[in-house]
Symmetry: D2
Subunit: 366 residues, 4 copies
């Protein structure tokens, strides 16, 4: 493979997340270029390729892996496919960028990490909150001592339902909103606090609005106790009307900060006639709306993909790794178990025989 | 006693809360007047009486209870004294307004309720959030169906430590910030949802900042599950820098609303020189500050006291009762037990032999 | 007339402003009661009387003035009627509360002031911004030195059109939005700065949206230069979509403050289903809205009417007087003249032969 | 010169603006690289070069212009030097990026435009508000019809004094805050509305706080009337405490939008201890502050410089041109004349014999 020049990237998938990856590489083009896309549904890869001038199209991602010049492959497929795809990519000698959550089970997580290590490829875990500029600023202030000892970190992400229909199917997603978005909050709090050991997890969850569509929870509250005596409070919802909400709060003995990615960045706007685009998940562009500007950049996606490309060239060390994804996966499992038992679950926690984390809510292990 | 004219009121206490009561009756004067104040510390009652033109002063509240014309007595003394004072007031044939939380134990709560009932006097529980105009508006919208079925209600109250030093002493207060301010959130969520049965309580708490001053918790997170499938999420802190925070959030399948009593009502202000008064607990009036306007009115204190006086005249039915206070007390006990056990506690919960709720955190009952 | 007891009030008018007056006396009832209402349109006075339990109804306000026990009469009729009504009320020996703006011409203003003085009755000018709690707080801070020397005060009031159709008719209103709402900003800036002499006025205005309905301006920008070297910047609009906007900004050499009566006090709310009432002028209660709480109180109307009743009893000195109204009237005239000439107009300014201020815009005097 | 590869850039200046240019090219590096810096003060160019790894250093910019490979030169020197530098750069056959305002007089503007045209180089006018992402979003919505016909656009920029001491000297700057920052608002409103003809300008200005340091105005209000019947309202101040303010408001017959670059993007933060950096002009990092994230990007500087480099390569057409700068210069002159006369000034306006625009305020031309 090339040791210089722009990193050649292949994308698996063609929907919401795949579009974000393609757009992100286009926004920050100096380190990478997307040369291929693979999607099993006829026409889907084609459509993405046309939007972003991607030259090569595949319906079977394994064929894409046969392309010699591709150096890095990003996975945007349903959660249940992450593990097998990662192994295939690693076996093809290419670096892996895997969307969150890492996989379905801790066994899968271990296998993914081990395989990539053996094959000498990077397993990069795509947690974009590590790159969200507003949240990065909050962490910088914390690390500069602005808040003294931080004892509480909160993150929440809420909207009215997942981007892709497969999320409703717990066999493909592994769970509901806690699986889909709780993984962000878990990673965020852990990263923000400097990756301390995690002591325990408590979760409350329920299916309040979308029981007709899914067995998964559509609202969750999660409390994490860290070994440094800090607490993480994570809220997620697929039952929040009015558009996206993505917020953090940080409390230390010496100060506080709040950040809101949507209402807190947006232009308060009223329109009788509507306009092009407000924000991900916005129900309308008429009446009062909260349009964002440069949405992907404000989430940190281009910065994240740019970083991963530089990792491939050895210019940076990966911020999000398979090990990060595994920590998140363990907390996800402990969270579902906790919701099932009604008690907090101590870590390390390694349930056996689980295929999907949500099973631990419905049938917690004794 | 009089059956018309302004209700004659006596106040027990002379500090922060007593001042609020006296000021509140002055702001809405058409239904009541404060005619007496009692405080054991020499000079304290005098000082309050001078600020508010209160004609009669006592150092022993029992002497004040001997005044025939007094019809209603408000209690602003430490929590550990609430029960005995209530019984004394009831025995004197006067109506009782008791500050939150109602008392120390469920046995006390039962005794207070029973005694007032036997004596034919009203036991009115002073939960001002029932009268906070901004929160009342949120409830009106909810009751009008704005949010459809509400599945999550949040309330938080945070600042950097209690008003009076006795709060630090758990023998007099019964606990830390969950006892001091958690009682607001419990009452609020329950009231907002229409007083549904409470199924379970989970609490996480710790002493993060003020361990040198108290054995009580200075930060708490509480999750309440209600029988109508709604959830309450209550956060309280004595460890929040930068002034007061008092907020709610309401999530229903059909909508959301947020309300912030401080930053959300204030005038964003920068001053090089400072000024008279910003807000309760504000650390300074220089630099950027968040001055409130008509602070008591925006909390609802004058409206609350006005309401209680009208209840004494039979013009209204008490919104906050001894039974409300007892429900809150039961959740407080269950919350401490839960924090001690690391599991959620089902209601009804009636621990025995407890003198202060915080004991259940330090030594949960099996 | 009575020298004690609640002041007996009659209201002239039955529409938007009359309703505010009636509601305001009901909210703060301890100093006054509304005993009569007069409106020429059959049924209108009746409807108001039923909403507020007003015992006496008249179609001719002159008949109402014959009621001996009425001590104070409030005028909510179109601007062109203010002068004659004031004279009639004064001649009946009753105190006058006149809604803004005071009248049509400076001649009328002088006549109103002189007549009331001769008859020994109070002429009270109803500028509610003197009582708006949030703005009062800003002035308190300024007077305490928070901002040092204030060099710029801004006030703006904007919505999508007047409450009553007569405002569109410049013969009855005297002008457009500058006449209707500019009077608030003029009074506010002057009052906020301590009533300094006014040096000059510059106005830019136009009819941008409602030319099919009115010859009056529907948007105006006004710059006032005060003798103490401070500047007032006043913006008003009948062409602002999305509901009401009422804001101030204060800039001093030592600090700044901002206040927003609507978005800045409201509960950010999203509703699929709608609810009872959001705020004056809100186009809908669905989607994102900005519901206010206790709207009248937050504007200061009950406090204002309470104050006027106390003035009648000699307990307070009127904050808003006929002289205030005359100052505003002079600035209104100078503003229209300025817009017509495209240059700033020095005060004192007393145009002759003018029937409606807007004439000075269309045909400025040389 | 090269027709491909990254554009080689030289910077004239080494202070605040020069640092922004250097940082901007570093943030978006794929189209340009800074290869030289020139500053007359010994050591200054050196310091900038070290921060940004710029290989070549000059004390005389004319020597830098002798470097063959340099293709584009950016000017960050005092306003009075802009014209001569532009001519020298053009004569050296290099493209020019000139900071705002373009120059001192309309004669200079014409000379700059003509010279660059004759020499076949681009004269690019550095108005970064054309690239500010939040403002660009507002314009996109307007262009999509969100607000219908726009009748009022406002822009304001305020802080407590200029970055460099030469701004206080009107012989070098040409004027005060209207010259320094009013140029932004003029360009913004004109650009936002689609560059309509400008009919008239009215300005009110004064020296309220910094009379000990400058003869220039430290606060200005400017009203522009456009030929399409829209109005621009521009406020600027060097007398605003509490940090930067940069805001826009847009009003159309069909809607409104607001954008605030500072408070509206920031993380509300309280710190007892302080932290690294809050925002340009912030007086402290302790107490409540408004830290921004990715400040340059949120202003649009990297996007602007990236765009200019692409213009050099022929990939884009310049958004900001010498002609834009000339329009702004004409409005600046008309604004000062207007403030001197107390009347609005019609365009076109070409005063003669003026060396600095501020002369027109102190001694307006008849």
């Amino acid at each position: 493979m090339a040791s210089q020049g722009r990193v050649k990237v292949g994308i698996i998938g063609s929907q919401f997340e795949a579009d974000i990856h393609a757009a992100s590489f286009q926004i920050m083009p100096d380190e990478a270029e997307v040369v291929a896309v693979a999607s099993p549904t006829p026409g889907h890869a084609q459509a993405l390729a046309e939007r972003y001038n991607i030259p090569r199209i595949f319906t079977d991602y394994r064929q894409m892996l046969a392309e010699d010049d591709i150096e890095m492959v990003t996975i945007t497929a349903p959660n249940a496919l992450h593990c097998q795809m990662t192994i295939d990519i690693a076996n093809a000698g290419k670096h892996v960028v895997c969307e969150k959550p890492l996989c379905m089970t801790l066994e899968e997580a271990d296998l993914m990490i081990d395989t990539c290590r053996q094959k000498g490829v990077l397993l990069m875990y795509a947690e974009e909150l590590y790159f969200t500029p507003k949240y990065v600023k909050a962490k910088e202030m914390a690390d500069q001592g602005a808040f003294g000892k931080v004892y509480l970190v909160k993150q929440s992400e809420k909207h009215f339902g997942p981007h892709a229909p497969w999320f409703w199917d717990v066999n493909r997603s592994g769970g509901g909103v806690f699986m889909d978005m709780g993984c962000h909050g878990i990673a965020f709090c852990w990263w923000f606090l400097g990756r301390p050991e995690i002591r325990s997890v408590y979760c409350q969850m329920g299916t309040y609005v979308h029981a007709d569509k899914t067995q998964g929870e559509d609202n969750s509250v999660c409390i994490i106790e860290f070994a440094n005596d800090a607490v993480g409070l994570i809220e997620d919802s697929w039952a929040r009307r009015g558009g996206m909400e993505d917020r953090i709060e940080v409390y230390g003995e010496g100060g506080v900060t709040h950040a809101d990615l949507h209402m807190g960045n947006a232009l308060p706007t009223y329109s009788e006639y509507g306009y092009g685009y407000a924000v991900e998940k916005a129900p309308t562009t008429k009446g009062w709306t909260w349009p964002v500007f440069e949405e992907l950049w404000n989430y940190g996606f281009p910065q994240e993909m740019h970083h991963f490309a530089r990792c491939v060239r050895g210019k940076e060390e990966p911020q999000g790794t398979g090990e990060d994804g595994r920590v998140v996966q363990e907390v996800l499992c402990a969270g579902y178990q906790s919701a099932g038992l009604g008690m907090k679950v101590a870590l390390p926690f390694r349930p056996e025989g689980v295929r999907a984390p949500i099973e631990l809510w419905k049938s917690p292990r004794k």
